[in-house]
């Protein structure tokens, strides 16, 4: 069965890039434009994995991850965040919030796909 991935990013171009990369690798992709939309969609439908930006209007990625992890249905679902921060602080914060892993921007399609395969095993 196709693994379904939710991508949460306020930048449509990034969402588009992520969608192209992941659908090209055989995943099905759903998009959300900010944290609260991401939260809503993730709680409404089960996803196999979530890829989210951290810096977003309305609800930022950290808050969304924290909220997601409160839901029993989200336990164990991998959440990968995108970051441009080269310092550790952001990674630590996001991991403390419950993120599974991260990807540093800028990235190429292969890197994203590799991470998806890594955490999903398929």
């Amino acid at each position: 069965m196709t693994a379904s991935i939710l991508t949460v990013d306020d930048s449509p171009s990034l969402r588009m890039a992520i969608r192209i990369a992941l659908t090209g690798a055989g995943y099905s992709v759903t998009e959300a434009g900010d944290g609260s939309e991401g939260l809503e969609k993730a709680l409404a439908t089960p996803f196999d994995m979530i890829v989210t930006d951290l810096n977003m209007p309305v609800m930022d990625g950290l808050t969304m991850i924290r909220e997601l992890r409160k839901a029993p249905s989200m336990s164990g679902v991998p959440i990968i965040f995108l970051t441009t921060e080269s310092d550790d602080a952001m990674k630590q914060q996001a991991k403390a919030a419950g993120a599974t892993g991260w990807l540093v921007k800028p990235f190429v399609a292969d890197q994203l796909v590799k991470i998806a395969r890594k955490v999903l095993g398929r």
Binding site: D10, S11, P12, S13, L14, M16, A17, I20, M49, N55, P57, R69, S75, G76, V77, P78, I79, L82, T84, S86, Q92, K95, G98, A99, T100, G101, W102, V104, K105, P106, F107, V108, A109, Q111, K118, V119, L120, G121
Partner: protein
């Protein structure tokens, strides 16, 4: 927009981000300690940098990185936000726009200058540091002992997949360490209580093993030691994920088209769905029509299909027009920067208040409104508003207010530029008009007519032409532009209280309601919005007005034009000719036509370049019977009528 081209999408988005950054900066200029604004600007810069690098805009990413770093320091409270910093970042923002629109060639020097200014403003920007990564070699293989952090499984890490990943590197012998499993009563099922010991036969370097654990490595227990010797220095510190090179394959290599983001319109998906529904229905109606065409003639069925198609095309037209609508906010946003700059240049305190930014107008209209509005706002800032000391003396607040508002009224958008300045100096307008011979000295003239004088070519009442206004673009050009949009412009002013200029613009340029008339054998369309009334030109009035071409309409003389003569139809006039009175603003003119046919939904086709100079016509349209009707240019015709009136006045 190409739905599969992230670079094009990025350009559109970057332009919006820049607008957002600019708004944030301008607001920040007024409220330097507003944390939320600082965060907002930072977030904008941050996203721009990240996305820029993603899509191959390296110069942009590097440049923006410096601005972002500077702002990060403000955000972290290390440096206060200052007016100078805001001004520099505003410059930087313009530079970023250039980097997005072009390929960055030849812009390096400009960028460096701005960065130098930025450094001066922030004193020493933070340098980038990318630690080099040390590689380690492996011989034979590795013994890996690991235990995941307790919440790793809940947070989405699956230990079985980590083991699978290790197996992919080579032959692995896995032993589970169950010593830490608590008694059943204390066992938390979502926690990972098991540890593992793996003997891995592989040539893979240590870094590759560490990569398997990259997401959990700093919170977990992990030892990786070579199989051969069990002595290994303490585990290396967690390596940084290597900085990835910019994906040059995305866009950087081929010459990027310098597409301006303005060529795209963002469309809400539901509007597209609506359009799709209509098109679907149209296809069905079309197939019904084909069936009818191939079968016998069934007039009733044919009529029903015809009605169906008529309804659909009407709905399609409406949906399409809505697609082209954009909020005037995009336009108004630009003026905040303009007013900011003008305030700096003139040394006046100016507040720009905008209202009705969500009013939607056809995209083309928005673009063509920009220049006239820039001029009106410049005028208001430069001539309208008094210097602070004069305002103070007049008992007004020191800061002048420019109020820019938009609202929809019927098929029009009304845009008002209002200032609370000194108002138009009627004496000076009068003196100038007399000097130019527009009116006779001492001649009585209605106040509204006097104010209209400012729209005459070459008319500028400013005692001295400053850097801001008087750049050769006069109010006459503004008026012409507005009229070319089939709009109208009106000015009102109260001495000492300010002036306001009201623009009325039709919502769309593509389709208009028209009045179809016949002159001689040809048919013409008069934009219905300009039509004030239709009357009959009685035979006696016709004869009486020979040579004068004026009729009296409610005690006012209105000039009229005999279109049959103007267009040299060479036909005899109909016995009962009609006059269609059209108006722009306060000026009116009557058009004598042979017959009024009725309302007509007019799809405007513009004239070929060859005919662009033909003044009397604004375009053409195709009628239901396949014939062509020219659309009359109301503004031009009114102008001709006015000249006629002036000639008559001059002749006494």
């Amino acid at each position: 927009m190409n739905g599969q081209d992230p670079v094009a999408a990025f350009r559109v988005e970057a332009a919006e981000l820049l607008d957002q950054i600019e708004q944030g900066l301008l607001d920040l200029g007024h409220r330097l300690d507003d944390r939320e604004l600082v965060d907002e600007v930072f977030r904008g810069l941050h996203t721009l940098k990240g996305s820029g690098a993603m899509f191959g805009f390296d110069a942009l990413a590097t440049f923006t990185h410096h601005c972002e770093s500077a702002f990060d320091r403000v955000r972290k409270g290390l440096v206060p936000a200052t007016g100078e910093l805001v001004a520099v970042i505003l410059f930087a923002k313009d530079h970023m726009r250039a980097l997005i629109e072009g390929d960055g060639a030849g812009l390096e020097a400009a960028g460096d200058t701005i960065l130098a200014r930025l450094r001066a403003a922030i004193e020493g920007a933070a340098g980038a540091d990318v630690p080099a990564q040390a590689a380690e070699d492996a011989r034979g293989g590795w013994r890996i002992i690991f235990r995941l952090p307790p919440d790793a499984m809940a947070n989405g890490t699956n230990p079985l997949m980590l083991l699978d990943e290790l197996r992919e590197l080579g032959e692995a012998r896995v032993v589970a360490r169950t010593d830490a499993i608590p008694p059943l009563a204390d066992l938390v099922p979502t926690r990972c209580h098991v540890g593992w010991e793996v003997e891995l036969r592989t040539q893979a370097p240590k870094s590759e093993i560490e990569d398997v654990f990259i997401f959990v490595m700093d919170d977990m227990e992990l030892t990786i030691e070579p199989l051969a010797s069990s002595v290994e220095p303490s585990p290396a510190p967690q390596p940084e994920l290597p900085e990835v090179e910019t994906p040059t394959d995305v866009a950087a290599q081929q010459g990027r088209p310098t597409a301006r983001s303005g060529e795209h319109v963002r469309v809400p998906a539901e509007r597209l769905d609506e359009l799709m529904d209509r098109v679907g229905e149209l296809v069905i109606a079309q197939s019904r029509l084909s069936q009818l065409a191939n079968g016998g003639v069934d007039v009733v069925a044919l009529r029903s299909v015809s009605e169906e198609i008529e309804r659909l095309s009407g709905e399609l037209r409406d949906t399409m027009m809505v697609l082209r609508m954009v909020p005037v906010a995009t336009l108004f946003g630009r003026f905040r920067r303009l007013v900011h700059d003008l305030a700096r240049e003139t040394g006046k305190a100016i507040d720009l208040v905008t209202e009705g930014e969500n009013t939607e107008v056809d995209k083309t209209v928005v673009e063509r409104l920009a220049d006239p509005l820039v001029h009106l706002i410049r005028n208001a800032c430069d001539h309208g508003l008094e210097p602070p000391e004069q305002r103070f003396a007049a008992g007004k607040p020191a800061a002048g207010v420019i109020r820019l508002s938009a609202h929809q009224a019927g098929g029009e958008v009304v845009i008002t530029v209002r200032d609370d300045g000194r108002g138009i100096d009627r004496e000076r307008v009068r003196a100038k008009a007399e000097a130019q011979g527009l009116i006779q000295p001492g001649q009585p003239i209605a106040d509204q007519d006097l104010l209209q004088m400012i729209f005459h070519p070459g008319f500028s009442t400013a005692a001295q032409v400053t850097n801001l206004s008087g750049r050769g673009v006069g109010m006459d050009v503004v008026k012409r532009t507005i009229e070319s949009l089939r709009g109208s412009i009106d000015v009102s002013s109260a001495s000492g209280e300010g002036s306001s200029v009201v623009l009325r613009i039709p919502l769309t340029l593509a389709i208009i309601e028209g009045l179809l008339v016949r002159v001689g054998a040809e048919r013409y369309v008069i934009p219905l919005a300009a039509v004030e009334e239709c009357l009959e030109l009685s035979l006696e009035e016709d004869l009486r007005s020979r040579g004068r071409s004026f009729i009296t309409l409610r005690d006012r003389l209105v000039p009229f034009l005999r279109l049959r003569e103007m267009f040299a139809t060479g036909t005899r006039p109909d016995p009962y000719q009609k006059i269609v009175v059209i108006a722009t603003g306060a000026e009116r003119v009557g058009l004598v036509v042979d017959q009024i046919i009725g309302n007509h939904q007019t799809v405007i086709k513009s004239m070929s370049p060859l005919h662009r100079d033909v003044g009397t016509f604004a375009g053409g349209t195709i009628l239901g019977d396949g014939g062509v009707a020219l659309i009359l240019d109301v503004a031009q015709l009114v102008a001709i009528g006015q000249q006629q009136e002036e000639r008559l006045r001059a002749a006494g």
